[in-house]
């Protein structure tokens, strides 16, 4: 095996990088792939809680890089799926403890053993971002259909290109079909036209993401939630499969869609 390293980044904070990383890791593992995810956000780590593995941490990324433990000791095995592992980043460390070349060396050590290495990058364009993209084969940029998130995504896409890690692929997260249809949210096509990059996922806004994060059980695990299906589709596209994008407007024909239309005829 020779793993592909996928870095998930965004520029702006709070657009759903960690949720995306966790769900892609779970989706890939559920599809029979061997996956290691690395939390690149030293000092503000979150991938552990989103994956529901926060109580099992013994060693972290800094311990590993500084040689206080072996690779196997730092990899927390998810007991729910056969081949999913997390290398956490401790909350209390100084983020300068890890350098881009440390990350490249670490990923080279893991590569022969797994299919995918997913790195959750911190927001911003500082050291943590540079660490996270240094070993990347594929960079995924997560954005929301909002002006500030799109603007920051554009900046990051430019930086990824400058680091010769491009072309970045785009995930548009938290798309609200009702607002989009009403013309009060940027359409995924508009975002693509502005950013001029390749699209790899459109994730609808979905309450089940909030619920599943509360439980530490990413939506991609099981069930038919829209976001879960969308994340599983991204995982399949990463593996080279051609998967059509979900039609987000179709749920307007359901009960709530019809109900809203009754209230606001002609608008929804």
């Amino acid at each position: 095996m020779a793993a592909k390293v996928v870095t998930v980044t965004s520029g702006k904070g709070g657009v759903g990088k960690t949720t995306t990383t966790a769900n892609l890791a779970v989706a890939l593992a559920c599809q029979g792939q061997k996956v290691v995810c690395i939390d690149g956000d030293i000092g503000l780590t979150n991938l552990d809680v989103v994956l529901g593995l926060e109580n099992r941490i013994v060693y972290d990324l800094v311990d590993l890089v500084e040689g206080r433990c072996r690779l196997r000791q730092a990899m927390i095995k998810d007991k729910r799926i056969p081949e999913l592992y997390l290398i956490p980043a401790a909350q209390t460390r100084d983020k300068s403890a890890v350098s881009p070349s440390d990350m490249v060396r670490l990923c080279d050590e893991i590569r022969p053993e797994v299919d995918w290495i997913l790195i959750d990058s911190p927001a911003g364009i500082e050291r943590g971002f540079r660490n996270s993209i240094a070993p990347a084969d594929i960079v995924l940029v997560v954005t929301n259909p909002e002006v500030s998130a799109v603007r920051d995504a554009d900046r990051i896409i430019g930086l990824v290109e400058a680091e010769e890690k491009g072309p970045a692929r785009l995930i548009i997260n938290r798309v609200n079909p009702v607002l989009t249809k009403r013309g009060d949210m940027l359409d995924p096509d508009d975002v693509l036209e502005l950013l001029a990059v390749e699209l790899i996922g459109i994730i609808p806004e979905d309450e089940s993401v909030v619920v599943s994060t509360n439980r530490g059980q990413p939506v991609a695990f099981e069930g038919t939630s829209k976001a879960g299906v969308a994340f599983r589709n991204v995982a399949r596209r990463l593996q080279g499969e051609q998967v059509p994008f979900l039609n987000l407007q179709e749920n307007n024909n359901g009960f709530f869609g019809r109900f809203t239309r009754l209230l606001k005829p002609g608008r929804v």
Binding site: E146, V147, V150, R151, D154, R155, I157, G158, E161, T180, R182, G183, D184, M185, L186, D187, D190, L194, L195, A196, V197
Partner: protein
């Protein structure tokens, strides 16, 4: 009165369209590292240099940033005044 009209027109236009137009402009600024003021100054200087050599009609000039993929390009369309009219004006 004008404000009131503006507001009516704005609420009728879709906010997503406004977001897209605003983003288009701000992304050009970000990518070129030019403020709108600098872009305007550059245009004026360009026209000044060109009009040292040929006669142009400043009102017919169009200079703008265009996007092709992720590449920015400065597009200038500067119609020259016909030589005959130049002779006449001299």
């Amino acid at each position: 009165m004008a404000n009131w009209l503006d507001r009516i027109l704005k609420t009728n236009s879709k906010s997503a369209d406004e977001a897209k137009e605003r983003l288009k402009l701000v992304l050009i600024q970000d990518r070129t590292n030019l403020t709108p003021g600098q872009l305007e100054a550059m245009k004026n200087e360009l026209l000044e240099v060109i009009s040292r050599y040929v006669e142009i009609d400043p009102k017919a000039v169009s200079i703008f940033m265009d996007q092709e993929g992720r590449e920015q390009r400065l597009v200038a369309d500067i119609p020259l005044k016909p030589a005959a009219s130049r002779r006449r004006t001299r």
